[in-house]
């Protein structure tokens, strides 16, 4: 099968699945799935840039996505002046102290000769900086957190439109990726995986515990939106006209009272679908831009060089390519894309809930998407994201239905039956693992293999 036919067929299958969900469940559900598909597609595109272009194993997708979420909060939430006056200065001072400490350490290391004395000095300076920062930071954080803790208890953000958070989220993630890449790249590939797994857990721990910054597990909810609110839509005259026009045939035969009631219901449903469709449009726009850039980059001489580095590091190095620097570059770019997607996800949710970040859902599920879609192929990873996300969402109702059908012979209240029905949602983990293993074994190139141009 040629590439085009394969891609087209996959698109048709995905579209058919979405239409089926829209008809059988509801269009609101279908659009909710499309939105998350688009965000997942952006994440898997970012991961594909790292894995497909350069063969880097990033096991910390969750952390970079969460940094994007933090950016959404820091950019869009209104600032809390009381908190700033209570401890803002202290936090800034702590930041300055940290920067000064790092500068002194780097300076001292540059000036001193390598040896035991330098290591000792570094250790002493690191510990000193740590305590100095904590001394300033501790009381400041406490002061901020005690400002109306039920409502705020954090510094708030900049109060800017949330769309600005998307690129900022990318920058935050890129910064974290640069630091981690500096340490772990150039070593064995597994070390990067473990280091990124670690940094992602730490990022989540920070978001959960640094209440002054992100409110921690108290969550930040009610983030501003780049799209209209449902309630406003339901009041707007133009929207009601739109609903009427869309449903003319359904409304035609009804009496006035029934028509009014039906229209009310349709407006509510319609507003929810309209909002989701607006999000979908925005996300699709971002995805299209990033895809276009990634595609252009892959076809450029730079992309050719990256493939050369991936396929034979030694040969590329012998040809004068700085392998570690290229790896760092691509690791940062890919993480930035993941960060953008993370910010988009938090925007869609309208809240930052640190407790919802789990590695299986945010890191390894994205891996399944890339492997299933086809490593090295951008379109593949996007389609893979759509397929895997639809499966992930639909595996739950389908699994529950399957278990209920299979156990329908058992008596109600049977302990085993209860247990099976209760545990059915966990079956999707098994399904995802099985899909990953099957694709890796029987079709290692994925749904849409990488096109190799000579």
């Amino acid at each position: 099968m040629s590439h085009t036919i394969r891609s087209l067929l996959t698109v048709v299958i995905i579209a058919a699945a979405l239409v089926a969900i829209g008809q059988l469940q509801s269009w609101s559900v279908a659009f909710a799935i499309i939105n998350l598909c688009l965000i997942s597609a952006l994440m898997s595109l970012g991961l594909n840039i790292q894995w497909g272009y350069a063969g880097l194993f990033n096991a910390g997708v969750m952390g970079f996505a969460a940094l994007g979420g933090v950016a959404a909060v820091l950019v869009s939430q209104p600032p809390v002046p009381e908190a700033w006056s209570a401890g803002g200065l202290g936090i800034l001072m702590a930041g300055l102290a940290l920067a000064a400490g790092v500068f002194i350490i780097l300076f001292a290391r540059k000036r001193m000769v390598e040896g035991k004395l330098r290591n000792l000095a570094t250790t002493v300076l690191v510990i000193g900086t740590w305590f100095a920062c904590r001394e300033i930071y501790g009381p400041a954080a406490e002061a901020i957190e005690s400002v109306d803790p039920a409502k705020t208890g954090y510094l708030g953000g900049l109060g800017l439109p949330i769309v600005i958070a998307w690129p900022i989220g990318g920058l935050l993630a890129a910064g974290a990726a640069f630091l981690i890449g500096k340490v772990a790249l150039g070593l064995r590939s597994d070390y990067l995986a473990i280091a990124t797994l670690g940094i992602s857990e730490i990022i989540i721990a920070m978001i959960k515990n640094e209440d002054w910054l992100t409110r921690g597990v108290k969550n930040v909810s009610g983030l501003s939106r780049p799209v209209p609110y449902e309630v406003d839509l339901q009041q707007a005259a133009w929207f009601k006209d739109l609903v009427v026009r869309f449903n003319e045939s359904k409304l035609a035969g009804l009496s006035d009272v029934a028509r009014e009631a039906a229209l009310h219901q349709m407006t509510i449903e319609g507003s929810s679908i309209f909002v989701k469709a607006c999000y979908a449009l925005l996300f699709a726009l971002v995805l299209a831009v990033v895809y276009w850039l990634a595609h252009r980059a892959q076809k450029s001489p730079w992309g050719r060089m990256m493939r050369a580095v991936r396929d034979n590091e030694d040969a590329a190095e012998a040809m004068g390519k700085d392998v570690t620097a290229r790896h760092l570059q691509i690791f940062v770019i890919g993480s930035a894309v993941i960060g953008i997607a993370g910010a988009m996800l938090t925007t869609l949710d309208g809240q930052l809930t640190p407790g919802s970040y789990t590695p299986l859902r945010f890191t390894f599920l994205i891996w399944v998407m890339v492997i299933v879609g086809g490593s090295g192929n951008n379109l593949g990873s996007i389609l893979g994201a759509f397929m895997v996300w639809i499966l992930w969402i639909e595996a739950e109702p389908v699994g529950t239905w399957l278990v209920q059908t299979l156990t329908s012979g058992m008596a109600d209240g049977n302990a085993l039956k209860m247990h099976l029905i209760e545990s059915a949602p966990h079956m999707r983990l098994i399904a995802m693992g099985a899909i990953l293993l099957l694709v890796l074994r029987f079709s290692p190139q994925g749904l849409i293999p990488e096109q190799v141009r000579r």
Partner: protein
Amino acid sequence: MPESVDIINSLVLLANYVIVPGIAYGSQLALGALGITLVYAVLRFSNFAHGDTMAFGTMITVLVTWWLQSMGVSLGPLPTALLALPIGILATVLLCFGLDRMVYRHYRSKRSEPVVFVIASVGIMFVLNGIVRFIIGPNDQRFADGERFIIKAREFKELTGLSEGLTIKLSQGLTVVMAIVVVVALFWFLNRTRTGKSMRAYSDNEDLALLSGIDPNRVVMITWLIAASLATIAGVMYGLDKSFKPFTYFQLILPMFAAAIVGGIGQPVGAIVGGFVVAFSEVTVTYAYKKFVGYLSPDGMPDSLLQLLSTDYKFAVSFVILVLVLLIRPTGIMRGKVI
């Protein structure tokens, strides 16, 4: 100058909150890291599914323990789980054999890149995670029974007349005894028996070992046998000491990997050293020294907690150690495999 009784009190305090838990946790990490390092030495990949293998073995042991408890079987003061442990080990070994046959063997025969094995292990991680949650659920399970303590704080105080108590849980004592027995047996096996030597030879130089007539499949099977047993023992000991929760076991791969890399990946001795390094760093860094300093300082207890890092950040400790090792000595303390 503090009085001598205060010095003893402070040491007992430290033993109670740092040394005893550190030794127990270190033993658990060391057993887990040994499994990771052996798989790495022989099969040459980082097994991301190790934490979930641990969870699987522990789950089987927990289920058998519950069954035994319902039959009225008990070991008296010892936890019933010890009786169930062999069955848990057996099930996990069979699981690993099956997974190797169905998944890893194919890539071995193709001589795939290590990272392909890692991705396959991620798939297995998903499957095992799902199986464990499907069977036993995602919640905390307690399965410890029998005597809880070797020494209780109150008894210790009465015995010594000190104001600080020392508590040693039976599970902590058991963990250490078990770890010593297992490690001694493992090193005897690796250094003294023919099979163990063939395993080391295979790990050292695969081609040379094949030429010398070593059967690679046998070596791989024995590696899985040992790794699965170690994982189950580590998991059951951790579960007895704390509690069994599938997600915690998944997260344990981070300190275990840190331990394996710190010690020098592929080096059994290194894994043990690394396990204790990571465990003690975690415990000492997250312990609040307020009371400890209170005993020693003439001014009494200080105002602040004197805690370097809150316990929420214990992952950060393994991570920082990992980063330090990668920066300073990427081969690890015991000079493990080439990087």
